[in-house]
């Protein structure tokens, strides 16, 4: 399967990455080659095979619901690029 530039642009938007035109050209060539290599997988018949969604036989891991301390507000905010009061601050979303 191949990947055209429009698809890459769309995917980059989904991934929230602004691509420069030269990056788009370069990526398009590289992804074409990588996907060509990955297409090897279509040679295998996997109709009867179960997907390995987890490699260990463990499921539904639960713990006791006990209250405990988590990060303090100050610590949680100390790496924020921008903050106001007790909140992370971002550019305006709603006018």
């Amino acid at each position: 399967m191949s990947i055209d530039k429009e698809t890459i642009k769309h995917v980059a938007h989904l991934a929230r990455i602004e691509l420069q035109p030269n990056e788009l050209d370069k990526l398009s060539g590289e992804l074409h080659e990588i996907l060509g290599f990955i297409d090897k997988l279509s040679n295998l018949n996997v109709d009867q095979v179960k997907p390995a969604s987890h490699i260990l036989p463990i499921s539904n891991v639960l713990r006791d619901d006990q209250p405990h301390l988590s990060l303090s507000l100050n610590k949680a905010l100390e790496n924020a690029p921008s903050k106001k009061g007790n909140f992370f601050s971002v550019p305006k979303i709603i006018e």
């Binding site: 399967m1 990947i3 698809t7 890459i8 995917v11 980059a12 938007h13 989904l14 991934a15 929230r16 990455i17 602004e18 691509l19 420069q20 990056e23 990526l27 590289e30 992804l31 080659e33 990588i34 290599f37 990955i38 297409d39 090897k40 997988l41 279509s42 295998l44 996997v46 095979v49 179960k50 997907p51 390995a52 969604s53 987890h54 490699i55 260990l56 463990i58 891991v61 713990r63 990060l71 610590k75 949680a76 100390e78 790496n79 924020a80 690029p81 921008s82 992370f88 971002v90 550019p91 305006k92 979303i93």
Partner: protein
């Protein structure tokens, strides 16, 4: 010998008898770094400015023995930047579980972090925001990756021992390229809490050390169940040093025929064959085995690992930590932050992974890859029903030149052809030094065992090591 040249277990003896001190060992590391770090650049912010180690429990068994940590493992208050611009200046507000365990045991966390490929995306440590690390055996070569800083630091005696992380070979391949010991534990053996996630179904933290005994000690210290990592497994942790018996009589070792392929360096092949003969002479029973789906491991990996990475790295959006680009709207802030904050390889993988998970392609790529992952795991199950372990090369070549594969992502991905299956199957594997090429570059021998059978790895690796001298050789710097 200087203190920094000794193994951890040798230094532990000296600390116990009070013949040496934590301070003296730290001093010897800084002295070494001042001399060679400008060439090797094993550390993320390559500088040999002396600062004290992080606080540790004074009564712990490690008695202040320093340990070097890869830049993607959270250390409270100490920069942990994944060697990425997007995490520049990030000081985690908490310690990873492995760091907690080391501190509780008296380990002194070295105050500089080991260099790595950005977010562990790479096999050469060339993708670091802080610039590449150089191989101590030949400064024109890469140290391997992504834990190249940890491996180079240990190999050049700029670290006593180190922690790395391994998603597709990121501990074993640099261990092989730098001539040190590196172990990827069984998935679930070591808590991933505080390891900045790349591919959560594949990532494991593990040791890079000067010999097998150190690897056994360190693995024991970091292993065990952690309620904060729901994929960690609640099984008792054995005393791995008890496995260092020196006896591999009648042990059944399989040699996978699919690992001796075209594209493998003939010199590496000869060295591996000699190592296998050595194991035979030491009493092991050697037979060929087959892992028929080996050729699909790299394509499966580059779907699953990138898909998981695209999801894990969504959190780097300029809101809570790290770098933020200036923009007027929220969406544009996300897009520019990620465009300017991530390097080329990170963008490539995020976009590939997003594509593999996107509407219309999910079944053809991601779901199919999960199914082939099952087949790869079944290959190993079948072999381990008759064999104690599998022995193979760690990498098809010795260390390559800096820049040689940087412009060819696919060729770089194929560097991991022998290490990736192990992560996909969730099993443990170790790489140990087993020889040198004529050009003087180390070659690693990889030993794999079934899940939670690290003991066999230590037993075989230690027996081989004690009957060879490869681990005693040091690079001339």
């Amino acid at each position: 010998m200087e203190l920094n040249q000794l193994t951890a277990h040798e230094l532990l003896e000296k600390l116990k008898s009070q013949e040496s001190s934590s301070q003296a060992i730290l001093k010897s590391l800084y002295t070494r770094m001042q001399k060679i770090e400008p060439q090797v650049k094993a550390y993320a912010r390559s500088q040999a400015v002396e600062s004290p180690a992080l606080n540790f429990k004074a009564t712990g068994d490690l008695r202040g023995l320093p340990i070097t940590i890869k830049d993607n493992i959270c250390t409270e208050g100490l920069p942990t930047e994944c060697c990425s611009k997007i995490l520049e200046g990030f000081r985690p507000p908490y310690d990873a579980t492995v760091i907690n365990k080391l501190k509780e045991n008296g380990g002194a966390i070295f105050p500089l972090k080991a260099n790595m490929d950005e977010f562990a995306f790479g096999s050469s440590t060339e993708n670091s925001y802080f610039g590449p690390t150089h191989n101590p055996w030949n400064l024109n070569c890469v140290p391997g990756g992504s834990s190249g800083g940890s491996a180079a630091a240990v190999a050049s005696d700029e670290a006593i021992w180190a922690l790395g992380s391994d998603t597709g070979g990121s501990i074993r391949q640099p261990a092989s390229f730098c001539g040190v010991v590196g172990l990827k534990p069984t998935y679930g053996r070591v808590s991933r809490f505080g390891l900045i996630a790349f591919a959560s179904s594949l990532d494991q933290i593990g040791p890079l050390t000067k010999d097998v005994q150190d690897a056994a000690i360190l693995t024991g210290l970091i292993s065990g169940y952690d309620p904060r990592d729901s994929t960690s497994v609640n099984l008792p942790v054995p005393d791995y040093t008890q496995s260092l018996t020196g006896d591999i009589q009648k042990l059944k070792i399989g040699i996978p025929k699919e690992y001796f392929i075209d594209g493998m360096d003939p010199e590496v092949k000869t060295i591996i064959q000699e190592a296998v003969n050595k194991l035979k002479n030491l009493g092991a029973v050697i037979n060929p085995v087959s892992l028929p789906h080996t050729e699909y491991a790299v394509p499966v990996y580059y779907i699953i690992a990138t898909a998981e990475a695209s999801s894990n790295l969504a959190r780097f959006d300029g809101v809570q930590y790290g770098f933020r680009a200036k923009a007027d709207t929220l969406i544009q802030m996300y897009k520019l932050t990620r465009a300017q904050g991530f390097g080329q390889e990170a963008k490539r993988r995020i976009i590939l992974g997003t594509f593999a998970l996107s509407h219309g392609y999910y079944d053809a790529y991601y779901l199919r890859a999960l199914k082939v992952r099952t087949l790869i795991k079944q290959d190993f199950d079948k072999v381990f029903s008759n064999f104690d372990c599998i022995v193979a090369p760690t990498s098809p070549t010795s260390a390559f030149k800096i820049g040689e594969r940087a412009q060819d992502p696919l060729k770089m991905y194929l560097s991991d052809i022998y290490t990736i299956s192990v992560n996909l199957a969730g099993i443990p594997a170790i790489s140990i030094p087993c020889g040198f090429t004529k050009a003087g570059l180390p070659v690693g021998l990889q030993i794999m065992a079934k899940a939670f059978n690290e003991e066999i790895l230590f037993r075989v690796a230690h027996t081989f090591e004690q009957n060879t001298d490869w681990h005693k050789l040091k690079p001339k710097l």
